[in-house]
């Protein structure tokens, strides 16, 4: 579906017409990312991060395929094969640093993309499925990134794998068998490394598939916009191409400049020094931390320090950590306010910014050692995190009085009413 005023794809060459009858792939691209997709005219720069995340997935797949040609998924030689890439493979250092830092930039893009969706109510009807698929993509990205960090088989790889798979152990009855199934043994070793490599190669393609569905689901209602008001007429929109291809294009350039500054001049700043020490099951690092993009969830895991009745604190932490993300699946039904954009929700807007602060506190605490005051800080911030989604949003939707909405996007932008004539 699209808007009635969407431009029709008209192949100009004979080959184009022939192709359009047999396999209308040109039509598909034209209607998805071309002039055939009318897009709200008022999207701000927060709307750039979806395409940036998609492009970085491609960067990861391309660099990853090249790295896999030289990497050896064997616990005895994995570490050395990575160093072989760094030292002896032509341009190998560039592919590895691009891949390692590319993961971080993928997560930067995806976090800003999620935050955009939270603020502007992009998860609300009619875009629930779009949001749910987005959460699935994020979960797949987390699994992929976690397993990718294990592959160099350094100290943090090994102990990270041990800690994360150890979480499953906390589940009663089935926990231990699940952990052993994940690892292919009782502790991370060759079997774990091999299956992680296999899945690390598989999951990005699964992600690509879900992303196609994500974009498909996007094109049914069309993009949300900063006012949250539905598109009402042709004047509210501009064709995606050339307007948003141009905007995405220059924003991509800017994002790549930051990425290249990082990967060429500070390539190890986002990693951990311990991962340049080969994995050693007999020597535990002073403190085990996951990659920075997992820190908020890691802080929630460690915030549960007291047993609740017969439930051990560790199990509570594990359940809470997974719940912190799974709660997003219920978000479209937790927030019942008919107004999408936080711009017109004075109370929700304040609550949202406190959520961002709480998440940043969780981020800092997750990267810090498990000692005070970090544990206490993450308890307060974690409490707010759950309260925002499960208590504040459902109640706020009832009591909040939203500001008056503009009649149309065009009116919000130009101050003049949308002429219904078009």
């Amino acid at each position: 579906m699209s808007f009635p005023w969407a431009k029709e794809y008209t192949p100009t060459t004979a080959f184009g017409q022939w192709m359009d009858e047999k396999l209308p792939i040109g039509r598909l691209v034209y209607n998805s990312l071309g002039a055939g997709y009318p897009t709200p005219r008022n999207l701000n720069y927060m709307w750039n991060f979806g395409s940036l995340a998609g492009i970085f997935l491609v960067v990861q797949i391309v660099t990853g395929i090249i790295l896999a040609m030289h990497y050896a998924a064997n616990a005895d030689i994995a570490f050395d094969s990575v160093e072989h890439i760094m030292r002896d493979v032509n341009g190998g250092w560039m592919f590895r640093y691009a891949h390692a830092n590319g993961a971080s930039f993928f997560f930067i893009a995806i976090y800003l993309h999620i935050a955009r969706g939270l603020y502007y109510g992009s998860y609300k009807a009619p875009r629930e499925m779009l949001w749910l698929l987005g959460v699935v993509i994020y979960l797949l990205a987390m699994a992929t990134a976690f397993m990718g960090y294990v592959l160099p088989w350094g100290q943090m790889s090994f102990w990270g794998a041990k800690v994360i798979t150890g979480l499953f152990e906390a589940i009663p009855l089935v926990g231990k068998p699940i952990q052993e199934l994940l690892l292919g043994g009782f502790a991370p070793d060759n079997a774990a490394l091999n299956r992680f490599f296999s899945l690390h190669y598989l999951l990005p393609f699964v992600m690509a598939g879900v992303i196609i569905m994500h974009i498909w689901a996007l094109h049914i209602p069309g993009s949300n916009n900063p006012t949250g008001v539905d598109v009402k007429g042709k004047q509210d929109t501009v064709p995606f191409h050339p307007f948003y291809t141009a905007k995405d294009g220059w924003a991509l350039g800017l994002f790549l400049i930051f990425f290249c500054l990082m990967m060429f001049f500070l390539p190890n700043a986002l990693g951990h020094a311990d991962n340049y020490i080969p994995a050693n099951p007999l020597s535990t690092p002073a403190h085990i931390v996951p990659e920075w993009y997992f820190w908020p969830w890691y802080a929630i895991l460690r915030a549960f320090t007291f047993d609740f009745l017969f439930i051990p604190a560790k199990l509570l932490g594990v359940v809470a950590m997974f719940s912190a993300i799974l709660v997003w699946f219920f978000l479209p039904w937790l927030d019942t306010s008919p107004v999408r954009s936080g711009t017109y929700r004075p109370k929700m807007r304040v609550a949202f910014w406190i959520l961002i602060v709480a998440t940043i506190i969780l981020f800092i605490c997750g990267g810090a050692p498990a000692e005070e005051p970090y544990v206490m800080l993450s308890q307060v911030a974690g409490a707010y995190y759950f309260a925002y989604f499960l208590i504040i949003l459902p109640l706020l939707s009832r009591i909040e009085k939203p500001l008056p909405l503009p009649n149309s996007i065009t009116e919000a932008v130009t101050g003049k009413p949308l002429e219904k004539a078009s």
Binding site: R87, I277, W333
Partner: protein, 283 residues
């Protein structure tokens, strides 16, 4: 239904975290955690700069050669350099014959199998060989070093928080243990006090102990400080041999990206000019 259960779950998580916070805070106030004994004595790495620092960094090849000499004459007796091959030394400015000579005359030979008998044996190293390991295995390394295995140095400046300045600080940081040091932090038998090391007690004895321990041939004065700096510079190279290539490529890529981004920005501006003009009329 979703909202009803949502609020219940939310109350549970939020409530239990706040209860944990109160219990934890009470514990923290009534029974504050004690600082680790070494907390007051541990020092952050010294400020020190190397030619390879920063985006414009380049290796000082004279210094790398001096650092290699220190590695060879001081460190190599115990510390391996297993990821580096003799052929890589060409990057320090040695010519082919010099590399061959360094390999052939290395302090230990490369393990091999005797082609005549099939017995384990050793032979002089070739440029293609990696630096041979000073100990046959970890057990031998531990046995010879008071039970502490000397770490491989190939990646050491990347494998320690604090990087090259930390390695330099460690080498120059040995000192007498302060008199007021708590007993728990005092160096035990075979350990050496070094405030730059995480728990203050390092198994390695001070390796660079006297000026002119190594005889430099390029006229540089071989002070303890200079030798420590030189060997650290050498270890920056062993950890990141492609550093110069990386910096140069980085500048070229970023220059290209800046031009491309400016062009993309200009086309964005011109494409949106009409739509934006409509917006301006509002004002």
């Amino acid at each position: 239904m979703v909202r009803f259960f949502g609020i219940l779950v939310g109350l549970f998580f939020t409530g239990w975290l706040l209860v944990s916070f109160v219990l934890g805070a009470k514990e923290f106030i009534t029974n504050p955690p004690e600082k680790a004994v070494y907390y007051d004595y541990h020092l952050d790495p010294k400020e020190v700069s190397f030619a390879s620092d920063g985006p414009l960094g380049k290796f000082d090849r004279q210094q790398l050669q001096r650092g290699f000499q220190v590695y060879k004459e001081v460190c190599a007796a115990c510390h391996s350099l297993r990821l580096v091959a003799f052929r890589n030394l060409a990057e320090l400015g040695y010519n082919e014959d010099e590399v061959k000579a360094i390999a052939a005359n290395w302090i230990i030979e490369t393990p091999d199998i005797d082609p005549a008998t099939g017995e384990m044996s050793t032979r002089p190293s070739l440029p293609a060989d990696k630096f041979p390991m000073p100990f046959a295995n970890d057990v031998a390394a531990a046995a010879a070093n008071n039970n502490a295995i000397p770490p491989d140095l190939s990646l050491i400046t990347k494998a320690r928080t604090g990087g090259a300045p930390y390695i330099y600080s460690l080498l120059t940081g040995y000192q007498e243990a302060p008199g007021d040091l708590p007993d728990a932090a005092k160096p035990g038998p075979g350990l050496h006090y070094n405030p730059y090391f995480a728990n203050l007690n390092l198994a390695m004895a001070q390796p660079i102990i006297a000026d002119d321990q190594v005889a430099y041939s390029d006229g540089t004065s071989a002070t303890i400080d200079q030798m420590s700096k030189d060997v650290t510079a050498f270890l920056v190279w062993t950890a990141e041999p492609k550093l110069e290539e990386r910096n140069q490529t980085g500048w070229a890529v970023i220059a290209f990206l800046i031009i491309a981004t400016i062009l993309a920005f200009m086309s964005y501006k011109s494409i949106w000019a009409d739509v934006k003009a409509e917006k301006k009329k509002k004002a």
